[in-house]
């Protein structure tokens, strides 16, 4: 038995409150309802866990690096900020130890630059190929293979850098005299561990990141823009370089930032291939140590808890975290704005 009717608010309405229960529509307590809200609570907690993770990371880093929980002293309560940022030596084994972050930053920078030089253009060009030139069939083959490149574990890249890239790529090119055993060729000194091999493998590693993100943003450029380009007598090259890439520029920059942030945070490959010696140098052929490699180096050596060297881990990790966080944030914001433009 039902009647549906409406009354406009202006005419006023007669609401029969007593009828509410009888109608069967009343909001009653049921187990189902309780379950519903419990589930929602639970799911909310799941979502909140990610915030907790971030807070935990910050807490852990800050409590060992900046403000110790008494009676423990944190790193920066024992080592001055000025030493950390002004000293040019990173020498935990010195007595007294000296902690100047620059050699580690320099190592990280060197790796990142080399990786960017190799990974960013290659990734972008591959993205252009996939988005503009490749047929859907080719794309459906090439994309998963590139994704596999991203799935290769970083220890493997480390091995590749140390055992293949350095002896069979860098050495023959830079030290052909030694490699081929003829002394009239040049011979540039190359360390066994060197930043170049680390940078190269990290560069390879970020190609898929750049490629897949850039491809997404390139494909988000409306077809109409491309057509407008063609209609003006553009070649495909003109359309790619003068229309599509500029239109997708902010998205591409975001992809680049994300990839660079990955290079900064990359650990095993550089630990294995680039060495573990903090050096303030821009020579890519020398042995260096990145921030990440320092952390691994110390942690695999089982530095005892509570020592200053142990706390230095957290200080380095904090710098690392803040660096990548800044880049990720910028990249996220740029991407969000980019999506707004074309959606």
């Amino acid at each position: 038995m039902s009647v549906v009717e409406q009354k406009s608010a202006s005419t006023g309405s007669v609401i029969d409150r007593t009828n509410l229960e009888a109608s069967g529509l009343a909001y009653r307590f049921t187990w189902q309802r309780l379950r519903e809200s419990l589930i929602q609570m639970l799911l909310f907690l799941c979502a909140l866990l990610s915030v907790l993770t971030t807070l935990a990371i910050i807490f852990v880093l800050v409590s060992e690096a900046i403000f110790g929980i008494p009676p423990e002293k944190a790193f920066f309560q024992e080592i001055s900020l000025s030493q950390f940022f002004l000293e040019t030596r990173w020498a935990p084994q010195y007595s007294p130890p000296v902690f100047g972050i620059w050699p580690l930053i320099c190592g990280t920078f060197l790796i990142t630059i080399i990786a960017a030089i190799i990974g960013l253009p290659t990734g972008l060009l591959a993205a252009v190929y996939l988005a503009e030139y490749a047929s859907p069939r080719v794309r459906s083959i090439a994309k998963p293979i590139l994704e596999l490149l991203a799935g290769v574990p970083t220890v493997v890249y480390g091995y590749f850098g140390l055992r293949i890239v350095t002896p069979y790529l860098i050495r023959p090119v830079l030290k052909p005299a030694e490699f081929f055993g003829v002394d009239w060729l040049w011979s540039i000194p190359v360390d066994g561990f060197n930043a170049l091999s680390g940078g190269i493998v990290v560069g390879l590693m970020i190609i898929p990141t750049v490629c897949s993100l850039s491809e997404d943003v390139l494909r988000a450029v409306p077809r109409t823009l491309r057509e407008a380009g063609y209609a003006l007598g553009s070649t495909k090259f003109d359309v790619c370089v003068r229309v599509v890439i500029p239109s997708a520029l902010s998205g591409i920059i975001a992809a680049f930032l994300l990839a660079i942030s990955r290079a900064v945070g990359e650990t095993m490959a550089v630990t294995i291939a680039a060495g573990q010696k903090p050096t303030l140098t821009l020579n890519p052929l020398s042995q260096i140590e990145t921030m990440t490699a320092y952390v691994v180096n110390v942690m695999s050596g089982d530095t005892p808890v509570g020592t200053i060297e142990y706390k230095s881990l957290y200080a380095v990790a904090l710098v690392l975290f803040l660096t990548t966080l800044t880049m990720n944030l910028i990249s996220q914001l740029v991407l969000a704005r980019y999506r707004e433009v074309y959606q």
Binding site: M1, S2, V3, V4, E5, Q6, K7, S8, A9, S10, T11, S13, V14, I15, D16, N19, L20, S23, G24, L25, A26, Y27, R28, Q32
Partner: protein, 242 residues
């Protein structure tokens, strides 16, 4: 009642009494708010962010927007069929049984019987009785739409809301759905949105004409089609605009 999408007002002072056990057709140009109004009747608009309404909708003289109303129970009593058929990616049987499953009915023979009865009511039983276990996605568009009607019937609603249920279908399927609606009105109160004036004329007793978010005219279908009171209605019916 008034209805707003954010700051955009989609319905203005609609005041409409829907008669029991009869078919009421809502007609009007595109974007005039027919769907919005229909969805207000079972509070499907609640799902959309930022919507807002003023005024009441009464079902059995009970305001369905009253604070203590259980939306889930309301939707069970007020079924709905959409323009695009929306079969669940499950078997035909499970599609119809879904309403009972979520109501927690475990009695297998009861479920079996209800499914059969509803499919029969929806004039689909003969076509699918041998393949109840097949995926509903494999049915044709018209069959899918009838399945959706059967599925709505299985929850035993009192009111059935239909938003252009036949607009995506071929003429043969449309005819079957129309027959079905005429059949169903014995037992259900039906509100149907349609773009097709002939259809409205064929199946409904009452017709309401909407324009730009306002209810322009409502009346017996025959009357409204042959002697519209408003100029706008006449223009629309004779095809002079829209």
């Amino acid at each position: 009642m008034n209805f707003f999408y954010g700051s955009h007002q989609a319905l203005f002072d609609i005041n409409l009494k829907i008669p029991e056990r009869a078919v009421t057709a809502l007609i009007g140009p595109s974007g005039c708010g027919k769907s919005t109004y229909l969805r207000a009747l079972n509070r499907m608009n609640d799902i959309i962010e930022g919507t807002r309404h003023t005024g009441d909708v009464l079902l059995d003289s009970q305001d369905i927007y009253a604070p203590r109303i259980d939306v889930v129970a309301l939707r069970k009593r007020v079924g709905m069929v959409f323009q695009k058929s929306t079969p669940f990616p499950k078997s035909i049987f499970e599609n119809v049984a879904y309403g009972m499953r979520i109501a927690g009915i475990r009695n297998r023979s009861f479920v079996q019987e209800t499914v059969e009865r509803c499919l029969q009511q929806a004039a689909l039983w003969n076509e699918v009785k041998d393949r109840l276990k097949d995926s509903a996605m494999a049915l044709s568009g018209g069959q899918q739409q009838r399945l959706c009607i059967a599925r709505a019937l299985a929850t035993n609603p009192e009111v059935l809301l239909m938003d252009e249920p036949a607009s995506a279908l071929d003429p043969a399927s449309t005819a079957r759905i129309e027959d079905l609606i005429i059949e169903l009105k014995q037992n259900y109160t039906i509100v149907i949105v349609t773009h097709n004036m002939q259809q409205a004329a064929r199946i409904s007793e009452w017709t309401a004409f909407f324009c730009q978010g306002r209810l322009v005219e409502v009346g017996l279908t025959k009357q409204l089609f042959f002697k519209p009171r408003e100029k706008e209605t006449e223009d629309y019916i004779t095809g002079r605009f829209g």
